[in-house]
């Protein structure tokens, strides 16, 4: 008899009202510019889409994007100076209505941005909901162009405006209202709290980060070049994910701010998505990865997420949503007595010695090349990297020619590992501070592991230590 397997359920319910077949939505951006695109995206498997921001049509410039490549990889970070939709509102509304009719099971959110007038907001809310939007996302985050006209991040950077406009929208809206937060602010929680006070049903974070991606060294014009000039743009893509995760955690960790959150920022695959969900997001939004590779990437997002959930035994997304939040604490609560050291696994070491140079120049000088011979300089201290290089450069090397060498070039002793012992670094575990750097630079997965060595020491945080020293009676030494 074949056992019936049940796949994990990856559908989500956002803010208690918005059903979506999976947690992957397209963010409001070029991939959601028109109905034809959104329908193809839904065909490809996207659970939802946030329509490119509706408002008074604008005129865009050319060019609009620039990117940061890193070590041969394209678009580690992407920057844009494109504004909201440049299509007539009526066309967008008609297409929203058509898409919603043809794809009733997929989520369609209308992103909105109009001038800061109550009537203008009431009108656009009514129009979007009449067209069939499942929810509204207030674009208080766009950092370029629109902010100069008092919209986008100009609203999102001022808590009072955010609260006021959110409240206006809530007066009219029948569907859930999400406020999209800008990261271009010193404390994102302040605006998140304002949105919550204004009555928002949910948040989206983060919008793009103010950026100048680079400057052409021949023309001296920053990118993207618009007829010899440029302007700061919004930065996104894999490069911003760590910043986004931090801001998401700040909002989710704040009782006055937290609301159902749609996570955004550099999400390129299912693993990125899971990280946002683990920090409490209810779903995620994706843009740059689609601009890079197309809608088809959603296939592995769903598949990878479901496989991971199956492996971990999670039946539903809410089973793990927010699971990592409690693991993020203030520094003062971290255990000062936790001690790990680096262990180099000789059998997989390839002898690149990157850990050695990183530890000497970038950390605490506790990795040495002294397994064979001249590990020490004359006076008993460890040889420095420069001294080691000097020794190597003084050696005379020759092209091995068996006929001429008669075996004299070969060194006699058998080596225990594939890499010559002299090239395998050694960790001085007494000196190692457990910083992780060597394991981060090591190109071989699993070659350097960090091992716990603090057996039988009670945990003590900085906060506890300060408290104990203020009250010596409680000390037990």
């Amino acid at each position: 008899m074949v056992e019936k397997k049940t796949s994990p359920d990856i559908s989500v319910l956002f803010a208690g009202k918005i059903h979506s077949p999976n947690p992957f939505w397209l963010a409001s951006a070029p991939p959601t510019n028109c109905g034809e695109q959104v329908m193809r995206a839904f065909d490809a498997g996207w659970g939802g889409a946030v329509w490119k921001t509706l408002g008074e049509p604008i005129t865009n410039v050319s060019s609009r994007y620039s990117s940061i490549d890193w070590n041969g990889q394209r678009m580690m970070g992407l920057n844009n100076i494109e504004l909201i939709t440049d299509r007539p509102l009526a066309v967008n509304l008609r297409e929203i209505s058509e898409v919603k009719k043809r794809y009733p099971r997929n989520t369609l959110i209308a992103s909105l941005m109009v001038e800061s007038k109550r009537e203008a907001w009431h009108t656009i809310v009514q129009q979007a909901e009449d067209a069939g939007a499942d929810g509204l996302e207030l674009n208080f985050g766009c950092p370029h162009g629109m902010s100069e006209r008092g919209m986008g991040s100009a609203v999102g950077q001022v808590p009072e405006y955010t609260e006021m406009i959110t409240a206006w929208v809530k007066e009219k809206a029948r569907t859930p209202v999400l406020v999209k937060l800008t990261p271009n602010i010193s404390d994102i929680r302040v605006v998140a709290r304002a949105a919550k006070r204004g009555g928002a049903d949910g948040l989206s974070a983060i919008n793009t980060i103010n950026s100048i991606t680079g400057i052409d060294l021949d023309t001296f014009v920053p990118r993207p070049n618009v007829d010899g000039r440029s302007s700061h743009g919004g930065y996104c893509g894999p490069a911003v994910k760590p910043i986004a995760l931090n801001l998401v955690q700040q909002v989710q960790g704040d009782a006055d701010a937290n609301l159902p959150l749609s996570g955004i920022g550099g999400i390129s695959d299912w693993r990125d998505a899971v990280e946002f969900l683990l920090l409490g997001c209810s779903n995620v939004q994706v843009c740059t990865a689609v601009m890079h590779y197309g809608y088809r990437i959603v296939d592995d997002m769903c598949d990878g997420l479901a496989n991971w959930m199956r492996e971990k035994g999670f039946g539903k997304i809410c089973d793990f949503q927010g699971k990592s939040l409690e693991r993020v604490q203030e520094w003062k609560h971290l255990n000062l007595n936790y001690k790990i050291v680096a262990r180099i696994h000789e059998e997989t070491c390839i002898g690149c010695e990157l850990c050695y140079t990183a530890c000497w120049d970038g950390a605490h000088q506790c990795i040495h090349l002294d397994r064979v011979g001249e590990g020490h300089s004359g006076n008993g201290r460890h040889a420095t990297p420069a001294e080691r290089e000097n020794v190597s450069r003084q050696r005379i090397a020759m092209t091995p020619i068996p006929k001429l060498d008669h075996g004299s070039l070969r060194n006699g002793g058998a080596e225990p590992y594939a890499t010559p012992l002299a090239r395998i670094p050694r960790v001085d575990e007494d000196e190692c501070v457990g910083c992780n750097l060597c394991s981060l630079v090591c190109p071989v997965d699993g070659c350097i592991t960090m091992e716990r060595v603090d057996k039988n020491i009670a945990a003590e945080s900085w906060e506890q230590r300060v408290a104990n020293s203020a009250n010596p009676a409680r000390k037990c030494d």
């Binding site: 390839i350 080691r388 090397a397 020619i401």
Partner: protein, 446 residues
């Protein structure tokens, strides 16, 4: 004569000898450069006889600093452009790459080096000298091959005068005359040497230095003499018929097609020997139109002195190998002017490295050209007359660290010292020796 004739690549030669390792494109060079791990005290540096700082020049390529990359290479190896093409990288830098232990292809160091050097040479190569003043002290080099070129360039960098003497009309020694054209074009070798000439190295061609009297003159005129004379002529077959016109030794055969414009070859070619030069000759014969190329070697496959990758290339191109086979006579045509075949005999090992013919095993095969490639003999006659410069096993004996011979006025490097290795070994010898000669010159002239 102080100006070498400029040599443009012959179009037919270029067509017949397409490069075996075409250059990287800009994009593939960047991708490859970014793969380099940037090892500390990298094994590729240690494996290179000239200790080129490989990760450093590769990172400079990755970071768009091609001139800096080329100068990093040239700082260690003035013949970086030709070494990038001719080095047996499999047994040197690329063979030492840590990627081998990572289950990955090694970094294409040779091609990346070429990428940087080609850009440098294409942009009108100039090397700024460390010292703009001309310091007192002059040195002569005998032979204009890689060892002398490296030696001379290093001395010029430090402000000393150097003159290179060579009996042939073109500089470069084997780099110009002896390296297979599909690896290094003679025109590329000459272009590289133009850069060295631009540093102020002087050349005198067409005079063979061989007499006591000539050496005495050099000793008077120069503070020191560097011997970069390489090895001597190729060994002869010494079998009946070896004097026939269709018997051409491998180095002459290679020089003829590279610089002599002789782009013809027999239909059926026999190459005797299985070293790297033998393989170069066999593969060249195919490119020049030979229908069949057979190689004869008196031992087995495992004993050949050619690098494994060279042997594999030759096999792949259709060269046939006959093991345990020795030629006994070159057979002349009826009119006695041409070759009609070669008579061979099977040999077998009788231990202690000795071989003996297998009785009655003679066989003939038709051919119209025989190319012996059974090694070069040392320039013993010259060296024995050379002012008390001592020899060991037919090589010039030198102090390894300084390159000084038993005659304090003479230094030596390259094939005449190491018995015949690679271009990069000659460059390393020349450079190392120049550094020590500078110390002697400083002592002498202050």
């Amino acid at each position: 004569m102080s100006t070498a004739p400029k040599q443009e690549a012959n179009p037919e030669l270029v067509a017949r000898f397409p490069e075996i390792h075409p250059p990287l494109t800009q994009v593939s060079a960047l991708t490859e450069a970014n793969r380099c791990l940037y090892c500390f005290d990298a094994p590729c540096i240690a494996a290179c006889p000239t200790h080129i700082d490989v990760p450093r020049f590769i990172k400079k390529i990755a970071q768009g600093n091609l001139r800096g990359s080329a100068l990093t290479i040239l700082d260690a190896n003035i013949l970086g452009a030709s070494c990038a093409r001719v080095c047996p990288v499999d047994v040197l830098c690329e063979g030492a790459c840590v990627m081998h232990r990572y289950n990955k292809q090694p970094i294409e160091i040779g091609l990346l080096q070429r990428h940087a050097m080609d850009a440098f040479l294409a942009n009108g190569a100039t090397i700024e000298l460390e010292s703009t003043e001309t310091r007192q002290g002059r040195v002569a080099c005998i032979g204009a091959g890689p060892a002398s070129l490296a030696f001379a360039a290093e001395l010029r960098r430090r402000g000393y005068g150097v003159t290179i003497f060579d009996s042939r009309p073109l500089p470069g020694g084997l780099n110009t005359y002896g390296v297979a054209e599909y690896k290094l074009r003679a025109s590329d070798s000459l272009r590289e040497i133009e850069m060295i000439r631009g540093m102020g190295v002087e050349f005198q061609f067409g005079e063979r230095i061989e007499s006591e009297e000539q050496l005495g003159r050099l000793e008077k005129e120069f503070d020191y003499v560097f011997l970069g004379i390489g090895l001597g002529v190729m060994r002869e077959l010494q079998i009946p018929g070896c004097e026939l016109a269709g018997v051409v030794d491998a180095l002459k055969f290679i020089a003829d097609y590279k610089t002599g414009g002789r782009l013809s070859v027999g239909k059926r070619v026999i190459v005797v020997g299985a070293g790297n030069t033998a393989i170069d000759a066999a593969r060249a014969a195919l490119r020049l139109g030979a229908e069949e190329v057979q190689m004869l070697y008196r031992r087995d496959e495992a004993s050949i002195s050619a690098f494994q990758f060279e042997y594999e290339y030759a096999k792949a191109e259709g060269v046939k190998f006959h093991w345990w086979t020795q030629p006994v006579a070159v057979l002349a045509s009826e009119d006695g002017r041409k070759i009609r075949g070669i008579r061979c005999v099977r040999v077998e090992s009788v231990g202690n490295g000795e071989l003996k013919n297998v009785l009655g095993s003679e066989w003939d095969t038709a051919c119209d050209m025989v190319i012996p490639a059974i090694g070069q003999s040392p320039l013993l006659e010259f060296l024995q007359a050379c002012r008390g410069v001592k020899l060991e096993n037919g090589r010039v004996a030198v102090d390894r660290a300084t390159g000084q011979t038993s005659n304090a006025k003479y230094f030596a490097g390259g094939d005449c010292v190491n018995g015949g290795r690679e271009v990069v070994d000659a460059v390393a010898d020349g450079k190392r020796t120049a550094v020590s000669v500078v110390r002697f010159l400083e002592k002498k002239h202050g």
